[in-house]
Every structure is written in C-alpha cells, then in structure tokens.
Amino acid sequence: MSQPIVEVRNLNFAYPDGTAALTNISLSIEQGEAVALIGANGAGKSTLLLHLNGYLNPSSGEIRIGGTRLTRETAAAIRQAVGMVFQDPDDQLFMPTVGEDVAFGPLNAGLPSDEIEQRVTSALDRVGKKHLKNRPPYKLSAGEKRAVAIATVLAMSPDVLVMDEPSSNLDPRGRRRLIEQLRSFEHTRIIATHDLELVVEVCSRVIVLDGGSVVAEGSAVALLNDEPLMLAHGLERPHILRHLHPHC
C-alpha cells in the first residue's frame, strides 16, 4: 500500500493573538519510516506535533492519518492510532503506579480487563521495565521515567509514534538504551529533537523547520552533512558524521 500513513497538506496555524506559528506545511510519511523533525527553538516543531493528534486545530489545511481526515469526530479514533510521547515524562505519568499509567490508555479505549493486563505487561516488557509495574512514578530515575512514558503509549498499540525531545535529560546509558529501542520499533516514528546524533542513528529522513515553514526535506545523512544548510537554520553538522565514511 503506497498511501502515506501521515499526510499533512498546506497546514497553517496561528496563535489566538494572530501571530503565525506554522505556514503552509506539507509533508508525507510512509509506514514504518523513522522521520526526524529538526529546527531551532521556536521553529514550530512542537506546535506541528500537537496537530498530529488533534490537540491543536489548524487554521487551514488538512491532516490525514492512515487515509482518514482528522476532524473533531475522528480525533478520538486517531488518538488511538497516533501515540504521543511528550518532553517531560512527569507530565505523562500522573497515576499512582506505573502499571496504572500504562493501563490508562487501554482503559479509556474500553478494552476488557484481561486484555488490558496483557497489554500492560507486554508494553512494559518491550521497554524492558516489567519490574517497575507497581512502582510509583516519583521513585523512578529519569531514564526509567522516559521508558515508562513510552510504554504508556505503546500499550495503545498505535501505528505512529510521535516523540518530542525523547533523549533530553538522559544520561549516556539511558540515551543509548533509548536509541536502541527506537531503532528496534517497527512503528512509524516521528521524532522532534535537537539531538542530531540520535537522528543520524535512528532516522532515515529529516524535515527541517525554520520560522514555521519547511525549509528542507530529504535523506538524514545528506541534509545533516550539508553544513551551510544546517548553520543557516540554527543547527550544525553533527560530529558523528565527520568521522563516518563520506559515502555512508
């Protein structure tokens, strides 16, 4: 099936006070792809992500997830298909224990309790944190919180995983684990991040945002290697590429 799983056409969004945040954004993402959304602070990455599950509504333009147009009526179903992991795990772990947080999504979907149990176990297992099931969130380390936050979304069996700055505040080991996990997921992955080294390791494609519009799009290595392009948009060429073979 060649229909892209995420399709955005001519999206425009302005804040209530009138300032334009996103201008004429169009992009399409195939199933199973890992795409990075990069740009300087204030470029509009988070704003764009919040459109993908209907939290924000565009002023004009349309969004299609798996072919279905995103509207107020379809938002609930689309939220099951598009799992969003936010920047601060403390904002997403709001239940008394990890297990209940992971069960929150499936519960809201109205699944029967034995299936919920099974999803919780497999989601936690997927991120390697099954032993944390009865732990309260304030007793987790940053890396554990991040992993559990991802599990809360995995339990909903989404088709698309959207993540905002997943590697922030992680120590090197936690970050390495995260990268390995992201590489192992089969879901479509859309990652907004400043961690350009992570992009090189995980993503095949990159979309560069600046001032609310898409300024470049293409193969991750090719664009990230393009030093003038990177510098022009508040980024830089990641060190990891300086040491790779030029043809990689």
Partner: protein, 268 residues
C-alpha cells in the same frame, strides 16, 4: 520546609506499600475500624483516663504487625502534640479541686482532664497515622471511592498527592535561588514572596495544561475509569468484627479498671 517534610511524606508512602498481613487487609475495612475507634475514644467523658488505656492495643498491634518503625510515627505525633498540649496544659493550673487520689496523693480535676485530653490525642493521632502507614495513599483512595466517596474527589486526592512532590520541588528550587541572591538575609519580603508564588502558580497551571494534553493523547474523555476491584475476604471480616467487638467491650466496661482494681478508685 519543605524538603524535610516531603521526605516524611514519601517515607509514609513507602511504609504504606509494604506487603504484610495488615497491609493486605482491605482498605475499607481498616478505614471503618479506625473511624469507629476514633468515635468511641472521643465519646468518653472529659475526665476519663483509665478506661481509655485498653484502646492503645489497636494502634500498637497494627504498628507491630504492619512492621512500621515506631520512631517515625512518634516523630509525627511529637510534632502535632504541642497544640493539644497547649490547650490542655492550662487545666491543671486552673482546676485545683481534688477529685481522686492515688495512695495518699490527691489529683485535681484539672490534671485529670489534661491527661484525658493528651491520651485521647495520642490515641486518635496514632490511629490515623497507622491507618495511612498500613495502607498507602493509593489503596486508601481506592477504598474510599468504593465506600461512596465521589470519584471526582478520590481522583483529586491522587492527583494532588502525585504532583505534591513536583510542585514542592519547584517551589524550593525557586526559593533557593532567591536565597542565594539575598545576601544572607532570611527575610522574604512581601513583593518577592508574591512574585515567587505568582510564578509558581503560573508554572503549576502550565503543567496542568501539559498533563491534560497527555491525558487527551491517551484517550481521556472526561471520565476516570478504574480496573475492577477485589472482593472482601474472610480475613477482612475477622479484622473488622474482632476489633469492633474489642472496642465496644472496652467502651462499655472499664477493662483497665477491672484489671487494676483498687488502684484508681474514685473519691466518694
């Protein structure tokens, strides 16, 4: 503050999440038993002392069976004690009329009512603390909800509890940064205070927005749902009925009086 107090809160929560026979008793049963305990203790008349003493069995028993270190509870009781102490301590100084005697020493009504107040205080406070330490906030709120407390309120308790540490942590970080720039002064002027509180409020509201986003993203539609609960077991019933019988007996007859016979006879 701040951080010392929160360490206490998290310690209480840790105690509450242990797994002992007492912890496994249903939260509803423990809550009802504790409430009954408090009501019966408070229903004694103001000068009663000896009849109150058997009631100590309840918190002490739970303390040991629940593997709760007595020292942590004692610390909290000591912290809360000054209030009852302050109010009660005036009685002995103002009521000098002797009403009974131990041996040849006479006891005034004031001392008696003071000791009664302090005994009551000790009993009720330790019962409440032991309840939380043996149950944990999470199970307690779930139990409260099943006893009829509105879900909105039970959820509110859990959310408050969850974000307490985070907001308090933010607050103490802001305060520390102010202190570091205050040239050693420990005074917090009103304008600085208002600004600190205002900022903390804004950050709290922003956090609430983000939590709401996260909830929506996982399908929240306004209604909090819970997994199915476990039914009461025979051990729960034994706990409830056993302690109720004991409390009623201790309230109806002065068990200590029976045991200690001539020691505390009234002056009549």
């Amino acid at each position: 503050m701040g951080l010392e107090t929160w360490i206490e809160v998290s310690r209480m929560d840790e105690l509450g999440r242990q797994d002992t026979p007492v912890h496994r008793i249903d939260a509803r049963v423990k809550t009802v038993t504790t409430l009954l305990f408090i009501i019966l203790v408070m229903s004694f008349s103001r000068y009663e002392v000896s009849a109150l003493t058997p009631f100590f069995l309840y918190p002490v028993a739970l303390l040991f069976l629940g593997q709760i270190p007595p020292r942590s509870l004692l610390m909290k009781i000591l912290v809360a004690a000054p209030f009852a102490l302050a109010v009660g301590l005036f009685n002995p100084f103002l009521d000098h009329r002797p009403v009974s005697a131990i041996g040849t020493m006479s006891i005034s009504g004031g001392w008696l009512s003071f000791v009664s107040i302090m005994t009551r205080f000790l009993l009720t406070v330790s019962a409440a603390l032991v309840l939380v330490a043996c149950t944990g906030m999470h199970r307690l709120c779930a139990g409260l909800e099943r006893m009829g407390v509105p879900r909105v309120f039970a959820v509110q308790l859990l959310f408050l509890y969850r974000y307490l540490f985070i907001i308090a942590d933010e607050g103490s970080r802001m305060l520390r940064s102010i202190e570091l720039r205050s040239a050693g002064s420990k005074h917090l002027r009103f304008r600085v205070y208002a600004s600190l509180v205002g900022h903390l409020l804004l950050r709290s509201m922003a956090r609430a927005d983000r939590v709401y986003q996260a909830m929506l993203a996982r399908g929240f539609d306004g209604q909090m749902r819970v997994l199915h609960p476990t039914p009461l077991r025979w051990s729960d019933w034994v706990f409830l009925l056993g302690w109720t019988a004991f409390f009623v007996a201790a309230r109806t007859w002065n068990l200590a009086g029976m045991l200690s016979g001539p020691f505390m006879k009234g002056a009549s």
